[in-house]
């Protein structure tokens, strides 16, 4: 108990009590969001298995209309994005913002519950809508038209209290980089979401091919200006906290943030390079998609410098372990985006499985790994008990890492193969037999990888449910993956 002498200090004691009060004030909404998110994640991974199976055994589970690939695949992605992604992000944002502004959440909590319930109802209806034949077939916006206003209002019910809470706060330490990102996410999501939905759902008679461009812009900006900021924000928050070292470079943080803010809004249209859009649109998307390598590299380097010398903690702390991998996936997903964006490589990878690989590495490899790390940190503090089992956390970690790496690598290689098959001059008069055969092995690997991930998520969900039910370990010491002799983590890591 290395904290015993520290507790005697009245300042630290008051500080601990203040933190506990803040944690308690956000407990309900945060746990509600995490639990529902974990449930959707589970649903999404199972759908991922079936959708991958459908690509090489089309009659798997029969020819039932609900389970056709064209309906399953969007359901799988939408469950991942709106069911898991946005909800987990909101929970993390809420907790970090409450801690960062040093204030208890006083008002708006009941509204948050209502919003949370409505969010889940809307997602459920939306996904059932896709499965039962009301899909719009716009990427990431396949859910029927009526869903988006509910999602928007629910999101604002969370984002608005966060922003005002932060606006009221007294900040002696000034702005911290993690809050930039999270405030940015609060601000960008509604803007992107309203723009895309109004443009694609409210214009009569619609926007034709420009609509497709806006759709691609929506997917890219949502990844880069919502999921990315939340993930980096939590990495910037938790890495210094656990390693006990300040963020390595203020300048790198600033440059990484503002370059992302300036560049990301231009990306997206390169998805339809060589298509009907005016040529400058894909061109500027391709340019910014490649230029994003700079902020991505800067942030990755900054995280690396912050972790430097404390790598043994990656083995010990579950939070740092997940966030370390998540932060590593950031440069990797940036590189994949650059490959998809540049015309030279993008023309081969366009319309292939590589695009799926990018979505999965961005949402699962990068964002979700950071989110898992944050959840492993936040839940014990708000639930008032510690994670039950080291083995369950390890299971979750290794099955996720190997599963995701397999899905992503298989999708990228399958994409190269497919792009080669599509564009090879010898294929000019061939049908799609070769292409179908060549992709089979990769799709089998994808199905197996999603099975591994499903396995990891089963344990994550059960573990989280036990924690939410308050059945965790009663202990003042956190659950660490490896116990070192002597002291384990710096004081800040337990705060």
């Amino acid at each position: 108990m290395q904290t015993t002498p520290a507790l005697a200090d009245p300042d630290i004691q008051a500080d601990t009590l203040r933190r506990a009060a803040i944690d308690k004030s956000v407990k309900g909404p945060v746990l509600f969001l995490f639990l529902n998110a974990a449930f959707w994640l589970m649903a999404s991974t199972i759908l991922g298995v079936v959708a991958a199976m459908k690509l090489f055994v089309p009659s798997f589970l029969g020819d039932c209309q609900i389970l056709q690939y064209g309906r399953l695949q969007p359901t799988h992605i939408n469950a991942l994005v709106y069911g898991w992604g946005v909800q987990a992000a909101l929970g993390i944002m809420l907790w970090i913002m409450a801690r960062r502004s040093g204030q208890e959440l006083t008002r708006g909590k009941s509204v948050m519950y209502v919003a949370g319930v409505f969010w889940n109802i809307a997602v459920t209806l939306g996904l059932l809508g896709i499965l039962f034949g009301h899909s719009t077939s716009m990427e990431w916006m396949e859910m029927p038209k009526f869903v988006w206003p509910i999602l928007l209002i629910s999101f604002l019910a969370f984002a608005w209290p966060m922003t005002t809470m932060f606006g009221r706060a007294f900040r002696p330490e000034g702005f911290m980089v993690s809050t930039w990102y999270i405030l940015g996410a609060c601000f960008w999501f509604p803007w992107i979401f309203i723009t895309a939905n109004v443009a694609l759902h409210c214009f009569q008679p619609g926007l034709g091919a420009l609509g497709a461009g806006i759709n691609a812009w929506y997917v890219h900006t949502l990844v880069l200006l919502f999921f990315t900021p939340v993930a980096i924000g939590s990495a910037y928050y938790f890495i210094p906290k656990i390693t006990g070292q300040p963020v390595a470079s203020d300048q790198l943080s600033k440059a990484g943030f503002w370059m992302l803010a300036i560049l990301a809004g231009w990306t997206g249209m390169q998805h339809y390079m060589g298509g009907p859009l005016p040529a400058w649109m894909p061109a500027i998307g391709a340019m910014t998609g490649v230029l994003l390598l700079i902020p991505v590299g800067l942030v990755g380097w900054n995280h690396h410098l912050t972790t430097l010398g404390q790598h043994h903690l990656v083995a010990t702390s579950p939070t740092l372990r997940f966030i370390f991998v998540g932060a590593m996936f950031y440069p990797v997903s940036g590189a994949v985006l650059a490959l998809l964006s540049a015309f030279s490589t993008g023309a081969t990878l366009q319309f292939t499985h590589a695009w799926y690989g990018f979505q999965i590495i961005a949402i699962y490899g990068f964002f979700s790994m950071c989110a898992f790390g944050a959840i492993y940190y936040i839940v014990p503090r708000v639930a008032g008990c510690e994670w039950l089992s080291v083995r369950l956390i390890r299971n979750h970690f290794w099955f996720s890492v190997y599963g995701i790496a397999t899905v992503v690598v298989m999708s990228l290689v399958a994409g190269m193969q497919q792009g080669g098959d599509l564009n090879h001059p010898d294929m000019w008069d061939q049908d799609f037999m070769q292409l179908t055969w060549n992709s089979q092995g990769y799709m089998m690997a994808r199905a197996i990888a999603w099975l591994l991930i499903t396995w990891s998520n089963v344990w994550f969900l059960i573990h989280l449910m036990l924690m939410v039910a308050g059945l965790g370990r009663r202990s003042s010491a956190p659950t660490l993956l490896e116990r070192e002799h002597g002291d384990t983590l710096p004081h800040g890591a337990n705060a």
Binding site: G70, E142, F187, A209, G265, Y272, P276, Q350, F351, P425
Partner: protein, 227 residues
């Protein structure tokens, strides 16, 4: 507070710029986009461009079944990809067409609420499918059971768009010609629902390589000097 305000303003500015130039202005401009008239002297044809609208009812079926997940509707230019040289992907069904299929313009999709350019190309591109489409019955057979035509196909069988019913007298005109293990039980026949008919109408209406007004025969013969 001023810090906070400055921060929000900078965010608004940095994102507002792409938002304005990439989304708002193009949307406003797109509203002004109208079909253009062919000039008989210049283009050699009469009428409006784009000439034939797509079948919207069928497009709704196309959307809800998620066909976009595997089928694109966009021909890329030859310097980027092979699309334009693929056999039968344009109006010219010759084995070796004289010129590549032209890539698409914004106007090709005019009047479509949303252009289904597609997510992946696990199956053939359908931009100009109407030109190469076989008889209706063959398309229906493909939609009902793709593996009855190609054993390797991984396309979903859209059986719910068809009705298996007791044959009343001789087979109806519309009934599908299925053989072997895909044939219905004796005395039964498979007929398309109106939705399947609409989907086929839509597929047959996919012709997006009509001559662009003002380009003359330049695109077709790849000889831009002779304008």
């Amino acid at each position: 507070m001023s810090d906070f305000r400055k921060f929000i303003l900078s965010l608004a500015l940095s994102f507002g710029l792409p938002w304005l130039f990439l989304i708002v202005i193009p949307v406003v401009k797109y509203q002004a986009l109208t079909p253009t008239l062919y000039d008989k002297d210049r283009d050699g044809v009469e009428g409006i461009y784009p000439p034939a609208p797509i079948n919207r009812q069928g497009q709704l079926v196309y959307a809800r079944e998620g066909c976009v997940q595997c089928h694109t509707q966009m021909i890329r230019p030859p310097q980027l990809a092979l699309d334009a040289w693929r056999k039968g992907w344009g109006q010219d069904q010759e084995v070796r067409p004289a010129a590549p299929v032209r890539s698409n313009t914004l106007q090709d999709y005019l009047g479509e609420p949303f252009a289904f350019l597609g997510v992946q190309r696990n199956g053939p591109d359908l931009t100009n499918y109407g030109w190469r489409a076989p008889a209706r019955g063959v398309i229906h057979q493909k939609l009902f059971e793709p593996r009855s035509q190609h054993s390797w196909s991984n396309m979903p069988a859209l059986k719910h768009l068809y009705v298996v019913r007791k044959a009343q007298g001789p087979d109806a005109d519309k009934s599908l010609k299925l053989t072997g293990k895909y044939a219905p039980k004796p005395g039964y026949e498979v007929v398309p629902t109106p939705e399947a008919e609409a989907l086929v109408d839509y597929l047959l209406s996919l012709k997006k390589d009509y001559l662009i007004p003002g380009t003359g025969a330049a695109v077709a013969t790849a000889a831009p000097a002779k304008k």
